[in-house]
């Protein structure tokens, strides 16, 4: 498998970052950055990361199920993550998640038929003092109300 030049450069840096003979350390960072480009953790990607890090594919496969941000199926182009953990819950996070379910017409870890949106109820994302919080892909949105979420989703629907 080949990746974009920027990602190849990042992978080369990752492999250099760890002590000699410890390239297995690059497995998790490599998987998450590759997933962004490939769309999901595919069997070919597992083989490729294993080859580059010098480990058995099974040693890569077994970490995939452990980390919640790694997905074996593609999520939507816009992955909407709504936090309902305690700080968010106290100020309307659960209602916000219900609102997102209705607006997008999908449930937890589901993808819209056109592949544009997916939804996930997530655990604490470190935005407690600016709750309720939503992350769309890697972008944080703070103090989110149902109206603000609708606007965000609308603007993404219109975006190419």
């Amino acid at each position: 498998m080949t990746f974009s030049p920027a990602l190849e450069e990042r992978f080369a840096q990752m492999l250099r970052a760890y002590p000699e003979g410890r390239q297995r350390s690059a497995v998790v960072p490599m998987l998450i950055y590759a997933q962004d480009e490939v769309g999901s953790i595919t069997p070919e990607l597992i083989e490729e990361v294993a080859r580059r890090c010098g480990v058995d594919p099974l040693q890569v496969d077994e970490v995939v199920g452990y980390y919640s941000m790694l997905h074996r199926r593609p999520m939507g182009k816009y992955h909407v993550q709504v936090c309902t953990n305690i700080s968010c819950m106290l100020v309307g996070g659960e209602q916000l998640y219900e609102h997102a379910r209705k607006t997008l017409g999908i449930g937890h870890k589901e993808v819209t038929p056109d592949g544009r949106f997916s939804l996930e109820e997530v655990e604490c994302m470190g935005a407690c003092s600016w709750a309720p919080a939503v992350q769309i892909n890697y972008d944080f949105h703070h103090f989110v109300t149902p109206e603000k979420l609708d606007q965000l989703i609308d603007s993404l629907r219109k975006a190419q």
């Binding site: 497995v27 980390y67 305690i86």
Partner: protein, 429 residues
Amino acid sequence: MTALYNEPSPLETRILSRRFGLENSASLDTYLATDGFKAFLKAREMTPEQIIEEVKVSALRGRGGAGFPTGLKWSFVPRSSPKPKYIIVNADESEPGTCKDRLLMEYDPHQLIEGILIASLAVDAHAGYIYIRGEYRYLIESMNRAIGEAYSRGYLGKNIAGTGWNFDLHTHSGAGAYECGEETALLDSIEGKRGIPRMKPPFPAVAGAWACPTLLNNVETFSAVPFIIREGGKAFADLGTPKNGGTRLVCISGHVNKPGVYELPLGYPMLKAIYEVAGGIPGGRKLKAVVPGGSSCPILKAEECDIPMDYDTLAKAGSMLGSGGMVVMDETTDMARVALRIMRFYAHESCGWCIPCREGTTWLRKILTRMVEGNGRREDVALLGELSKNMLGRTFCALGDAAAMPTISIVEKFAEDFDKYIVPEAVLV
């Protein structure tokens, strides 16, 4: 001015956050113009013993949650070991209620870098890794930019600032796992494995990353070090209370008018933090409960909150200062639902290695779900308490305790909140 997430409070003591809000606060030029790297140059003239002694005098305690004395932790690293020594920064900030390390990395990355460099002098390390949670991708990128800037200007790499000291620093991305904030699970994760906690001893100071001596501290802990070396350990200690030196970034969330991250001295009155710093409770409603330092801490009832916020007072009150995540709950809060939400989190995050934690959190979640859905039984409240107590101290890491402790406190202090969910004739569904 760089946009801040919340307005600062005039009641703050801004030591670690002094550059927050400055123009280009994350740039090396801003850092150098505001005492940057003076502490490193000073530390380079000191012996490792003197650096560690200064940190001990400062009474700095780990800001990740456990509150272990930092200077003592540094003294455990065997400097004379022939193995390479490593520094690992825990930036896996995942404890519910906690959102401070984000700000330290976003607004003042060079303060963190300088703290790491001073630690490297103290433990004779020449490489370090900042383990940043995967969700904080923008911080991985901004930290990489700051590291790149430091390399290009000679503050990382070979012969740092002309002093002959060498140190390499890298970021490492996590991929979503609360458990990886536990230091030994973090070490397995950084080695490319599932984040499973290790048996201790050996402690990471002796056998950590790649079985080498490793110094592991939280972002905020390292960020406090430049001030301690520059101004002296005593100056930092004097900001707080005995054995509880300095300030810390308190993350206030929940039912307050002005939620935010505020830097307050150790020993700051909890009620003053809620009612003055964070502007009190909306609608003039009454305080019901406070999570003092992240969701792992036993919850305090309103009448238990008239205390200073330091590690020892919180311990005496039967709770913990934890990671600084203070969650305020008003009189409308349903503590049964709070208990359920906390347990859903721990059941999701248990790594599954230890049976009391894996099965305990799962069963507690099932019982709480059944109750809140309207099928509670009279004996359930006692069962929740008994199950939780059986998890305490029976796991490799603290996640089992972290799940059990808030549950025990809620069941004992807010039993009446469960009453409405108990149906005498309920049948098992």
